[in-house]
Amino acid sequence: MEYSEEKLIEEKVFKDPVHRYVHVRDRVIWDLIGTKEFQRLRRVKQLGTTYLTFHGAEHSRFNHSLGVYEITRRIVDNAFASRPEWDEGERLLSLCAALLHDLGHGPFSHSFEKVFDLDHEDFTREIILGDTEVNQVLTKVAPDFPKKVAEVIEKTYENKLVISLISSQIDADRMDYLQRDAYFTGVSYGHFDMERILRVMRPREDQVVIKQSGMHAVEDYIMSRYQMYWQVYFHPVTRSAEVILTKILHRAKHLHEQNYTFKHKPHHFYSIFEDRMTLQDYLKLDEAVFLYYFQSWEEEEDDILSDLCRRFNNRNLFKYVEFDPAKEYKKLAKLSVLFEQAGLDPEYYLVVDSSSDLPYDFYRPGEEEERLPIHLLKKNGEIRELSRESEIVDAISGKRRTDHKLYYPADFLEKEKARPEIEQIVQILELNLDNGTI
């Protein structure tokens, strides 16, 4: 029997709090899960610093990847099976791409990628095509199979229906992370009737469409995306932790460039600092490694690095005020000067964070062909864009809601409040000193 068709003698199941069970029968999928590159995802949290706000959010990209695989499996084995528009020959490719779609994510990847100008998608490609255990498994299926898997994940594969299963505005990726993130954060948003959506999905040449009768289930899905975005993904406290994490990495890089002698040498970071990182260097990084350095760097002589690390490790985060860049950007220049006078480097201690810095996606109705929208299949066979049929979706799609916050170390201001420049800062930021806290 060909490796691509080989089945396990007994089905393996992973107990899963979101989907109850994740079922594996294909030998290829089982082998991929066992590779060291896939196992590394256990050590990368799905929601980065969100655990500092919602303490349950400790789930990993490993959990999520299995979930995306399971949803895709249910779509291709149940919803699509024996439909003429679906090519059964694409089944294994769809499952592998679903399982591996986040393979290149690094530790705290949002901040990490931003500071070092990296893109996890590039690493996903490199892991799939490079000298790795994942590549060995995929190559056993066929020599060109790794390339096909990489193309599906990069959204450049010829069969767009396969791409849309894991990468469209209603796909297995989003359906898993919304439910999983809701479960682990403990919030009551993020719930929708996935079983219903899976039942009304229909394959078409270029994408999955949804039977009109399933519109209300899709409305729920869009609403939960909207609510999760503002309530969880964009929580101001999580953003504060991201700000500090970003600044730690910037500071460490800056110190290395200044030939600073670290007490605890950042061996894992040298190749990134010097822009010569290999895939093998990248694969050695995980969140345990980062947290080890953050703990060690608390003892560094550089006051900024040690202070930022203490803040991150002990969750002594920056506080924030709402900030309107249009009206207040001049204020910001003034604050920068005052921060410097107070001995706080504004580069590290006065930070504007905008909603566009963390772009989780809203539903977009596909105006000007920006993104492929969700299409409903009407009884008469007509295809209509979702927001044209649903008033609820129309009400929230394309509506702008943006947000900016200014982060600062309130504890420092409190401690030094007698100093004249701090008094001025407190005044400009309109902080309340009456109850002894700011």
């Binding site: 990069e154 249009a326 504007v352 920006e370 943006t402």
Partner: protein, 170 residues
């Protein structure tokens, strides 16, 4: 601070007016590929390289009142026009951006039609592949656009001239 916002304002300022969200996406992507330091990350979507970060940043700039967005009906769909407001000019005055050659490049890109820019940005997206594979890719991912060999050759020539322009001015 707000440097990334200022760069987008600067780009629209030097372009005069940008008609179409899709065009704006392609302009910034191409400029980024010419090594102008835009931070927005692009991924390949159904219609080519697209940045959700850029979409959100432009939305923020409109909300701040630094960009003016006019929505107009064109045939069966809506199109958006972007220009700089007075407040945007003032903001730019206080946040100077050093990208001296950007104006010439973006004006040139802005003069091209959307179909051609879609092709140019797709060619650039696959610039790590050998030429033959790029052609094959374009025929695969842009099948419905039916780009001819001549158009693809024009896209390569255009990219070369744009690189030259960026280099000369630098």
């Amino acid at each position: 601070m707000l440097k990334d916002h200022a760069k987008i304002i600067h780009a629209i300022s030097v372009s005069g007016e940008v008609i179409g969200r899709k065009k704006l996406q392609k302009m910034i992507y191409i400029a980024k590929k010419m090594e102008f330091p835009f931070q927005e990350r692009f991924q390949f979507h159904f219609y080519g390289p697209y940045s959700e970060e850029l979409t959100l940043r432009v939305e923020e700039l409109c909300n701040m009142g630094f960009l003016d967005e006019v929505k107009e009906k064109k045939g069966g769909y809506y199109q958006y026009r972007y220009t700089l407001t007075e407040a945007g000019q003032e903001f730019l005055g206080e946040n100077s951006i050093e990208m001296p050659c950007l104006g010439d490049c973006l004006t040139d890109i802005n003069d091209q039609n959307a179909r051609f820019l879609e092709l140019v940005s797709t060619v650039l997206y696959f610039d790590n592949l050998p030429g033959d594979e790029v052609r094959e890719k374009i025929q695969t991912v842009k099948k419905s656009q039916k780009y001819t060999d001549e158009e693809i050759a024009d896209a390569y020539a255009y990219i070369a001239s744009l690189k030259e322009k960026a280099r000369q001015l630098a």
